[in-house]
Amino acid sequence: MKNFGTLFGYELKKLLKRKLNWVVVLLITGVCIVGVVQAGNSGGFWIEDTDEQGNPVTSVISGQEIRTAKLNAMGTLNGQVMDDAFFQQMLEQVPEFDNPYEMLKYFYHVDSTYLNVHTMVEGLMTDRDTFTAEKFYATNQEYTQLYMDASGLSHAEKEYWTEQMEQIETPYVYRHPWPGASELVDYFSILRVVLPVVVAVCLCMIFSEDHRTKADAIVFATQESRAPLYLAKVLAGVTEAALATTFVVGGTVAAHLAVWGVQGFDAHVQFYDSLCPRPITVGQMLLPMLLILALYTFICGAFTMLISALTHNAIIALAIPAVLAELLNQWHPSARGWLGYLPEKLTGWNGPVNLHLVKIFGVYLDNFQFGSLLYVAIAVLLFALCWLCWQRSAAGRA
């Protein structure tokens, strides 16, 4: 292993010198950025209404208007304590709506100040006249408990989350959550398909190119051509995958920041999803999801390397992981049990509200913590299988 650094450097050089890798990474990053910017201004609502004469009229709230309204709402209520006076003020300012269209028109055309707060209380407010802060917190807690029951949590899990909820101070001090959170989480579904393809393109030749070009005859006749070379290739592959992920995910996140601003990551997650019992901020919710996405990409990279070592065929090593990732992304089972650790669940809307725990050595791990360990273990297992295939080739049994 004395030349590991040199071998790693040359293996990385082989990958980085492939122009196709850069073309694909930059192209996909560009497409993602354009997609985010376009999505930020597209969409909208079609509202069916009637004019003064009672004739039906269709009006549109554009995506641009929605984005502007959401951004205008940023910071206007920040720092206010969500007590009786706060809710009273909201009820005085926001009229009662007869239908959802009126609500949309009000928040997106008239005043978006209470848009997020209204969304938080909408489902909890049974009677507008008797609504108080005490009722808000009590109902919120009650609904969270009901959600935990419906999720089939054990007594110990419920106890754990109740303790976690107690760490959240009430009354809340309002902090507007980052408005791009939902859009970013939605965009993860695209990244779950795109990232496996990008790493498959980058890594599909890693264990097949020497075989194709017959360079393996020279390589395998050398002293360090077993474990040291394998580890150097794997580390170079992981580095390349990390670089590609950084470009694509970094570009996507940067585009979201450009569209939705950079404020609101320190808002409690309850302002994003009021039923979430985790004592964390919006930023702390998104980071583990990004970590899981990166680890999923490494699993795809490890799988690509395994197929490359197994088949010595770059086309197969590119096609199989890409197709499997797409099929996996199209599969939408319930999030019960092990299925809750699917990438679609952990990096989707279900991730922050999946409250199942795993106890390891007396310590409870939540779905993100255990999911991270699970993904690392799967990647290690795939690398171990890849080593067996590689060793088989090196020993001349292939």
Partner: protein, 233 residues
């Protein structure tokens, strides 16, 4: 120093490429002649540990072919091999030197020496994809010599070289046989006639001639024709 080969066999589905070969090779140049398809390349790949024998054993001074210590003293130039086209000649040698366990300073010095030895010092920093076939072959020879091998296996090394380069290569190999076991496979008689210390001939996976060679002899071609019935390819 001796390379011991005992009952070495390689069986493919319906073909026995190497059939119970037993040899003892010592320092010097060992020429291995045989027609295409005689089993030379299969034998050499097994001697390099990159092809697993069906039966038999290979050891160098008691060190088994599968061990790292065996590969540490091995130099191998395959008949047909690939390069990394975006690497420079120097990069290629430094990469192989790292694989052969040479320290960075030693690798740099050795790569410089070998580029000079094979007359590639002026193009060492150019990409391999700009090299001619002969230059690539010379680079292949240089990589085989990086670790000062005690066992050097060269398979059809003059294939694709022009007559001038073939002579230069033959002279290069001739100077290596003093402290090294050189096994040089070819089907071109003139490649080995004047430099070999020991001559081997192979046909249908078997060794049919195994004897010391007197370099002053001039009847190798005749001997070859007798053994292979005029079948030189």
């Amino acid at each position: 120093m001796e390379l011991m080969i005992r009952d070495l066999t390689k069986q493919y589905k319906d073909k026995r490429a190497v059939d119970g070969v037993s040899l003892r090779l010592t320092e010097g140049i060992n020429g291995l002649l045989g027609a295409n398809g005689a089993g030379k390349t299969t034998l050499m790949r097994m001697l390099c540990g990159i092809l697993k024998p069906t039966a038999g054993s290979i050891s160098l001074d008691g060190v088994d072919v599968t061990s790292e210590d065996y590969r540490a003293v091995l130099g191998y130039l395959p008949q047909d091999f690939g390069y990394y086209p975006d690497f420079t000649g120097l990069d290629f040698l430094l990469y192989l030197a790292a694989l052969k366990g040479l320290s960075r300073p030693h690798a740099k010095r050795r790569a410089g020496e070998l580029l000079e030895l094979v007359s590639l010092q002026d193009v060492g920093k150019k990409k391999i994809k700009t090299y001619s076939g002969g230059m690539k072959q010379r680079l292949g020879i240089a990589q085989a010599l990086l670790n000062d091998p005690r066992l050097l296996i060269v398979d059809e090394p003059t294939a694709g070289l022009d007559p001038k380069e073939r002579v230069r290569f033959r002279n290069l190999i001739a100077g290596l046989g003093q402290d090294t076991i050189v096994l040089l496979s070819t089907h071109i008689v003139s490649d080995v006639e004047k430099i070999a210390d020991h001559m081997l001939m192979m046909s249908d996976g078997e060794i049919i001639l195994n004897e010391p060679w007197d370099k002053s002899r001039t009847d190798l071609e005749q001997l070859y024709m007798e053994e292979f019935g005029g079948g030189e390819e």
